[in-house]
């Protein structure tokens, strides 16, 4: 049986598609959608079973997860604040409350970091229901200043006096 023309056409089409796909994969941009991420985990560094209550001025253990997919290394800091429902951060503005603690680190591209933390919680302005807020900030080389990434996580907790 000699090579059929239709079979040959199909083989040729498959080779053209495979070639085009291969070239597209090689020439595609490294990181088309750059993003950063922050997550809050429990003291075993797992999702769920978060503390719901805590004594006033006591410390609780949690874990923070941060990921860098900016397409380049970044100098990050996680800022811990105690806030109320009215002073929570949003996608553009950080919480106006004062920073109680910071953790700084450098992450490579496509690298994530999970680290345990021990933080102090207390009632603010007499509120028994406070939010533990963790904001992700990135160092901007051009302005030589920290900029808020718009990423944050929070956990409501009842303070027992």
């Amino acid at each position: 049986m000699l090579l059929d023309e239709e079979v040959f056409a199909v083989i040729l089409a498959v080779s053209i598609i495979a070639s085009a796909l291969g070239i597209a994969l090689i020439l595609r941009p490294e990181n088309p959608e750059p993003f950063t991420a922050i997550g809050l985990l429990n003291e075993d560094c797992k999702i769920g079973e978060y503390p719901k209550t805590a004594w006033d001025n006591s410390s609780i253990n949690l874990c923070i997860y941060v990921a860098n997919y900016l397409g380049k290394p970044g100098y990050f800091k996680v800022v811990y604040k105690l806030a109320t429902r009215e002073t929570l951060p949003n996608n553009t503005t950080p919480s106006p409350e004062e920073a109680l603690r910071e953790w700084r680190f450098v992450l490579r591209d496509k690298e994530d970091k999970t680290f345990p933390i021990s933080i102090i919680v207390y009632s603010i302005r007499g509120e028994a229901h406070v939010a533990l807020v963790f904001e992700l900030w990135l160092y901007d080389y051009s302005t030589r200043n920290w900029t808020y990434t718009g990423r944050w996580v929070h956990l409501y907790i009842n303070i027992t006096v």
Partner: protein
């Protein structure tokens, strides 16, 4: 009387010059120094990364420097930052050659992939025929 006046004027001018010089001296801040140093080194490491160089060791040094600084060990932090700076300087010298070789390697792969359909079009029928004749060369044709 005149000499005393001149001497007083000279002393006054000297004092003014000294005050002006002191005002122009750079103010050294400690808290933002680390951020500025680490930030600029991360920026330079980022340039190396964009040229395809592995910067893991630099990032490790920078993280160790931050930890040392937070523990109050400023000398160790400065030493680590210096090491990171040295690594960046060394890597910068080979950055362009690595970038160029990566580009060449990519170009070769693209050219090879682009020639696959041409090779299939020109060589496949010949190769198939060659195999077909080879597999049947021992056949005997009977009348």
């Amino acid at each position: 009387m005149v000499s005393i006046l001149i001497r007083a004027c000279l002393t006054y001018i000297t004092l003014v010059v000294l005050v002006l010089l002191l005002c122009n001296l750079p103010i050294v801040s400690t808290s933002s120094d680390l951020d500025g140093d680490v930030g600029s080194l991360v920026e330079r490491a980022s340039e190396l990364y964009s040229k395809g160089i592995d910067i893991s060791i630099i990032i490790e040094k920078l993280n160790n420097a931050i930890v040392s600084y937070e523990e109050g060990n400023v000398n160790e932090s400065s030493r680590l930052l210096g090491e990171a700076r040295g690594l960046i300087e060394n890597m910068s010298t080979i950055a362009y050659s690595v970038y160029f070789s990566n580009i060449v390697f990519k170009a070769i792969i693209v050219v090879l992939l682009a020639t696959i359909p041409v090779l299939v079009y020109t060589l496949l029928p010949r190769f198939y025929l060659y195999l077909w004749y080879k597999s049947k060369k021992k056949w005997i044709v009977l009348r």
